[in-house]
């Protein structure tokens, strides 16, 4: 089974463990990830605030070269990149913008590429053989945290339910985990303010962690590098604001499934977390 793969900057930088776990899991599920050659940055949320043409041309180039390399479908693990690519694909349905971007890229852009996030990949290609390959069930009570970019804007992404998404929860159940019902699934973690307004991130992420731990969650499952870094890396600042510190780990869905499939902790990059992971 061959699918195009676009890691994006954070998976080769601050969230290397997400990349390692995705690659390891894909190998275990016999899904061949074909990384797009010479891919470029997707511009993330910063670009579309400053310059619309730039914010459209960057993702358009990624898709254009992917199409050129014969790929029909590309998995984008990072929620921000997934969001940008899907939004650009939608924006470029308007001929005026498409023309302008084609001029900038100087290469053909069809917009026929199918962009999917890691949950969609696991649901469509992995669901059966994950169930078959579970060696040590992931018997933990966890809270699945989706963040905002993974499900919004719903009218364009058309992925899962907006207020109470279930796709990660069902995957956790498949590997024997107990995903609990809690209220902060799609509340904001502070995202880009991580550097400029760490206090805000501490407050917002703090609320999320507090609600999860109050309800007895042993870990938080995420599918976006931005959320993971805010909830994990900023744990020090968060614990300062809370009455008593919270030490539940924050791991990726791919790592949780990897564990259930018996893949080693190093291979899944579990050693790189700030809040160490004993599960």
């Amino acid at each position: 089974m061959k699918i195009g793969y676009y890691p994006g900057c954070s998976l080769t930088g601050s969230s290397r463990e997400y990349n390692e776990s995705v690659v390891a899991l894909a190998k275990a599920l016999e899904i061949e990830l074909v990384e797009i050659k010479d891919w470029n940055c997707c511009g993330a949320t910063a670009a579309h605030v400053m310059n619309e043409e730039l914010s459209l041309s960057l993702p358009a180039r990624i898709m254009a070269i992917a199409e050129e390399q014969g790929l029909t479908e590309v998995v984008v693990p990072c929620a921000a990149c997934y969001n940008r690519l899907k939004m650009t694909q939608h924006e470029l349905e308007d001929d005026g913008k498409r023309g302008r971007v084609a001029e900038i890229l100087k290469m053909p852009y069809h917009g026929s590429l199918k962009i999917i996030n890691v949950l969609q990949m696991l649901e469509t290609y992995g669901a059966e053989n994950i169930k078959a390959r579970v060696i040590s069930p992931f018997a933990h009570k966890v809270a699945c945290y989706y963040g905002c970019l993974l499900v919004r804007p719903h009218s364009i992404l058309q992925f899962d339910r907006v207020e109470d998404p279930q796709s990660m929860d069902s995957l956790i159940r498949v590997i024997g985990g107990n995903s609990m019902d809690w209220a902060f699934k799609t509340e904001c973690c502070g995202a880009g303010f991580s550097v400029s307004r760490t206090d805000l991130v501490a407050k917002l992420s703090g609320n999320i962690l507090k609600d999860a731990s109050d309800r007895g969650a042993e870990a938080l499952i995420v599918a976006c590098p931005m959320c993971q870094s805010n909830l994990d890396m900023r744990r020090g600042a968060i614990n300062k604001t809370l009455a008593q510190p919270i030490d539940i780990p924050v791991i990726y869905i791919t790592q949780a499934i990897g564990l259930a499939l018996g893949i080693g902790a190093n291979e899944l990059g579990l050693k790189r977390h700030f809040v160490n992971v004993e599960l």
Binding site: R161, V162, E163, D164, W182, A183, D211, D214, R215
Partner: protein, 666 residues
Amino acid sequence: MSKIGVFICHCGENISATVDVERVAREIGGMEGVAHAIDYKYMCSDPGQTFIKEAVKKYGLDGVVVGACSPRMHEPTFRRACAEAGLNPYLCEMANLREHCSWVHEKSEETTEKAIDLVKMLVEKVKKDKPLESIKVPVTKRALVIGGGIAGIQASLDIANTGHKVILIERDPSIGGHMSQLSETFPTLDCSQCILTPRMVEVAQHPNIKLYTYAELESLEGFIGNFKARIRLKAKSVNYSTCTGCGACIQKCPVKKIPSEFNAGLGTRTAIYVPFPQAVPNKPVIDRVNCNYYKRGACKICEKTCQVGSIEWDKEDEIITEEVGAVVLATGFDVKGTDFFPEYGYGKYKDVLTGLQFERLASASGPTFGEIRRPSDGTIPKKIVFIACAGSRDPAKGIPYCSKICCMYTAKHAMLYQHKVHGGESTVFYMDIRAGGKNYEEFVRRAIEEDTVNYVRGRVARVYEKDGKLIVKGVDTLLGGQQVEIEADMVVLATAGVANCGSEQLAQKLHVSYDPYHFFAEAHPKLKPVETNTAGIFLAGACQAPKDIPETVGMASGAAVKVAALFSNDELVREPIVAVVNRLAPPLYSTCVGCFMCETACPYNAIEHEEIKGRDGSLIRTIARVNEGLCQGCGTCVAFCRSKSIDIQGYTNEQVYAEVMSLLND
């Protein structure tokens, strides 16, 4: 040579703003066949109409064209004016210079030329007009009212009190509709049951009203004054003539866990049930979906307990036919369920209720006998939050309109809560308070000032459950947009009022048009609110748009008087816009060759076979004939007839041809 009078209206300046009306009158004045052409500021005004009348008499006009607004608006007005002046009304036509020209184009040369073309088109049409006499059709002086809520009840009583027979059909086992589910009503807080049940009993006992409950309209044929309604009496499995309504069977019925529709799903009911104590008729019905006998062929306990043996297991649905002259649609409205709102938990939190469910809690005949208790654990909520505009005024949710009554019943709910739960704390999140009715504003002020209801202006972003409490996250826009978080015990959503389910199918059965939200479309928003575009079918109550009880009752009486007007004379005068098969001298008799393709095309099967016999009685030919009583004038047969033997008065082939030719040539 025809002598046509042309009258161009300025319509104040609605037309003259972009169309050079003087030039239009001047150029049309020069047209062949036009004897008199003027322009005037308000043609539809009295002086305007007298101009027409005088011109008809003075110039002996044999045709009138008025260039003004849409014929759908003032055609009857000008036709009546011509009739009074002695000119056959069907020789008067209107050119739509306002909606189709002046309002939709900028002021320019082309706009005026288009106006001239439109008037010229109608002048050519009038030249080919023939005087027509309206058709007299007998009227069945019996009305059909669909829907037994307060609207249907009021309309039925008013019509019955004018001495005419009424057939009232109601889909549920009892009449009463949503009003019977309310505890108290704003703005006077008088108990809903007390003011409604007397009317329900009056309906049941009124000699002129024939009441069919648990019945739905199967189909409606015919036309104004001559409808034939086929009504499906759903099998009640109880013989109402012998049943005394003692209720023994209801006690004994083992199936007790069916969610009660009347209590909006809060309480439960038995398989054989009466919806609520004051139901009319106060006799039970067997719910065949949940009854053990119908599910598994066992039980029959109710039959054993019934002393008069009125259980009829294998009673079938019965279809009865009623001849009626008019129909009043009073099918009411519905409210959105809590599952419609993702941000308030997709309906999975038990203590997030709709306004209707709160009514049932507050009602003495409700599941909690009037005490406000939490459906989850039965405790009395100390803190309650009301969220106004849940779904309404929200284009993203597809409901952009305001449901009109929620502000008032939310204030009422808060007031009831404060009266019933001393020391309770209620908060209302609102956008704007719409309390426009009589004593409405005072009522809301009373809730705020006397009953200390805390009104917070802002929307609620999310409601989620934590440790048994409902965390309401909102904002207070009057305090600088400060975020507000309340740990409430109960949340009541004032959900949007939407059209009743099945309203679209009903509208299609009656050929009544409906709006994008499936509310029935009135003939004119301002001037004909109780009529529909289909002659003889009237509207009452919330089936036309969400509205409160005073308005509904007013509208129901309005519809009743329309029906009474229709029944006031024995014959109904109908537009002579019907099809006619041409007749010629012998030996041809008619160009119709009797292929009867028109008969298969006619939706009203108004085409009959007519046998032409010679003097010696031998059959010469069989040709088509139009029954002018049934024909509604759609003209489909005319466009189908290969030999052009059938034509429709008012839109004859010659007229339509002349119109097209005048538009394309100068």
